[in-house]
Symmetry: C4
Subunit: 297 residues, 4 copies
Amino acid sequence: MATDARPQPYRWPDGYRSAACFTCDVDAESPYLWEMRDAMPAMLGQLEMRRFGPRQGLGRLLDLLDRHGVKGSFFVPGVVAEMHEWILPELAARGHETGLHGYFHEIVAQSSDAEFGDALDRSLELFERQTGQRPAGFRSPAWEMTPGMLERLRGRGLVYDSSLMGFDHPYEIDGLVELPVQWLLDDAIHFKFQGGGRDRWPPAPPEGVLDGWLEEWRMLHEWGEMFMLTVHPWISGRGQRIAMLDRLLSRLKAAGDVWFARCDEIAAHHLQSANRGRAAVRADIPAAIGPRRPGGS
Amino acid sequence: MATDARPQPYRWPDGYRSAACFTCDVDAESPYLWEMRDAMPAMLGQLEMRRFGPRQGLGRLLDLLDRHGVKGSFFVPGVVAEMHEWILPELAARGHETGLHGYFHEIVAQSSDAEFGDALDRSLELFERQTGQRPAGFRSPAWEMTPGMLERLRGRGLVYDSSLMGFDHPYEIDGLVELPVQWLLDDAIHFKFQGGGRDRWPPAPPEGVLDGWLEEWRMLHEWGEMFMLTVHPWISGRGQRIAMLDRLLSRLKAAGDVWFARCDEIAAHHLQSANRGRAAVRADIPAAIGPRRPGGS
Amino acid sequence: MATDARPQPYRWPDGYRSAACFTCDVDAESPYLWEMRDAMPAMLGQLEMRRFGPRQGLGRLLDLLDRHGVKGSFFVPGVVAEMHEWILPELAARGHETGLHGYFHEIVAQSSDAEFGDALDRSLELFERQTGQRPAGFRSPAWEMTPGMLERLRGRGLVYDSSLMGFDHPYEIDGLVELPVQWLLDDAIHFKFQGGGRDRWPPAPPEGVLDGWLEEWRMLHEWGEMFMLTVHPWISGRGQRIAMLDRLLSRLKAAGDVWFARCDEIAAHHLQSANRGRAAVRADIPAAIGPRRPGGS
Amino acid sequence: MATDARPQPYRWPDGYRSAACFTCDVDAESPYLWEMRDAMPAMLGQLEMRRFGPRQGLGRLLDLLDRHGVKGSFFVPGVVAEMHEWILPELAARGHETGLHGYFHEIVAQSSDAEFGDALDRSLELFERQTGQRPAGFRSPAWEMTPGMLERLRGRGLVYDSSLMGFDHPYEIDGLVELPVQWLLDDAIHFKFQGGGRDRWPPAPPEGVLDGWLEEWRMLHEWGEMFMLTVHPWISGRGQRIAMLDRLLSRLKAAGDVWFARCDEIAAHHLQSANRGRAAVRADIPAAIGPRRPGGS
């Protein structure tokens, strides 16, 4: 079968059947600051709701990971690290990776590649100052990328991006390692609720989502793929979701042959292993079909 | 760990591990009157549906609380107390707290702080006249607040607000006690359905919501936090939700070490206990980021 | 307790604890004809999907009711009776009530009281011609009413309306018997799906909805109220919903003390029993609050 | 009972009680190309997410069908066959039917019958070149049809369409065989999620959907109808859905008397059997009611 995909299964380090990666997008106030970047209303609701993240949610998530002995990757917008100065050092001290997530959680469709480059430089400077380390990777706010953003990440020496959904295992796009996410394994699409007429659906009860995540993991594990989970402290720091994540981690840990790894570790493995180059794609954007479509003008 | 949050667990009265607060926003016709404040259509659907609250829903909720021996806090818009004069006296006679909820269920984003102050004065006069008591607290329609509203509540001598979501336990904001709500524990986001093209999602079956509420309570109880539930008579006065609330209260009562208390009792406890001042925040509104963001104009 | 509601429980005929009413809004193409009343597109999708109702759905529902020995009330828009001439006679022959449902499924907010009167006269003439009987009741498309519509129903000698939600038992509004519906017990809000970008939510799996309906019935039965169910042939004539209705009817039938009755029978009972006058309300529309609200202009 | 529907049950080949048809709309990038036909943004998110279909999802679906010994019908837009040249030959080699699905996944309401004819000719040429066979059938993108499209399909000698929902068994419309779909048995309405503010509801957990599909099948099987399932590789190629489809096929296979057949086989059976002509309808579009409605202008 001549397909778009690699012929061989993905190879994980010795003895591991699949990989699991626990990631956290530490957004706090930043998406709201971005949304209201031109005019900030004198209202407290959204701010207080999101500040629950640094105040209570993040600590609960960190304690949960400690209990399970899991090290994760935390993507932190620059402004969040600036407003809550304890976050990056605390994450580093507990052995977690800190990765980039924009400066003001800039939404790609509302921002230019040049602005992206500026926000990247400013974030890198802040991360190095607060942690003494240069980040290895980036995750895009709202999981969108342009070829120009990939180019700027490479140009700054970053190793990986984690924003696209082209495979269920690490791959390469325009020479950068891509550690793919997927919507199903994001807490926000199931649980985020903002109020004030902003929402299109209510938060899901945790049980159905946990069933879906476990079923997704079961198959990814069987196939030897990567289970990439993403949570947000102001969302999954609430009681019922901490309980749900506790069950999830217990199940995955019990399997025994799951490689729990940080994004930087997975990217490094990819580059040093036989997987390299097997699923390498170009960041191709097709031309608009307008002029060539049958009957089109 | 230097965090945004208090270092110690919240302290409840002797022997109680956590607190549970049953609150009811007695909206009846008021949100519709506010929505149609400039032109009332000659249609009966919304009115009759909401009048089901005072006609049947509220009585069912009161009977339920009596059966479980629970005293709750009922937030009543002034116009509802005016149109249904039996409500405030009946609530007081049954031992429940009556709190403020705007006069016409004014939506914060559509109203000014000055209008808020006027509605507050008018509501206070009405409550004192109907019940002989001055209310201790306020809950904002649609759970939004401004610093100016907090200031006006303090200026009238009110003790607490219950509209924000910054912690899972009582805290202080600009010197006022805040008894936090959260969307997950609101019946309306799960169950409210108005018809006529107004809705973005259908009402949830009760079982999943009850599971979520019980799971949320289980964790809040384990952590010694506060379980703050909010219901509306025209929504939760329907059969399947009364049945669900019955199960919920049975479970919480069976725990034995849950402090069921009214909002005014919890606020008084907060001010008289060692908790005071441990989680005190400012009602800070950040400046719009526009001028300082990288590449921003 | 001086409340808005009647003091006594509702009285049902001898030995029955509660009532159950199976109603069917036989919309078929009519809501689409109304929506496209000014310009009908040359597309077949919506038409064929809705024609599934008269072609297969209605027959399945009728067979289901026959198997359970239940007589229901079917509200049929005039244009549907005109386009599918077998429907009204067949319903009458099987012992079901045929009631009015507008001529072109006119949406109240898009139509005048005068147009309503014209549609009423035209429908009455058609029903009498096709069935030899004058209908006793009316159900509004989309469950909205005006005081003027109530007046016109009374003026034509109709006995009841079934479109409002003010109680869980029969009541009177402006002198007309009202047999209340409620959104929770409507199949359309849970299951209707049209495609083509028209929908705000997907169709629910039947199990959760059945649980909600059974739980709603359990409480209404306990309280001696009325369980008023509404289905649509093009929606509930699909396999999984016929199966669900089968289970629902089996459960209610098994109770033994549920009065299964047609709307006209329930309205007649109301008028001849001690219930009459106990819950009689006016079709009051409050004035817009604009001029009198604090600080309002 | 004189109804719109055929009097006799549908007849299947010897010994089979009902039919099951597994179909796959292989959309990949095509709906996005159509949506962005006039201006393609320089963003990768939607493209990579959809390319997961040809890269991993389609192979998983094909392996699943092989394991269950099921041959299905795959509807492939021309541009997808052009961009992924292995797809049509691979499908044919594995014994599946390849059917038409537009060239650029043209949305009917945004396209003319003439454009449809051009896309049809271009697709037919491409399919014959890539597979050596002329397709027998067509499925409309987004499941919408016009009388003019039916006419053009007949004019090119196609045997069937599979886009409408008028019955639960094969029928004829304007002389073409119609193999009806239905929304409930489409994976996209339950599971499709695109992100970036495009969605109106989140993806469902698989369990409730599987329950609904099995219940739908149970009744269709009992009645001797056709179970027509539709999936998309970029949606149902994800782990939890492959697992769910595996369970579904196991259950249907276990029944023993289900005729698993490709669309072209079912259409051929229809034309050669006693079913022919029993449910034959016209593609009637009623006139707009405007001028004749009571009180209408």
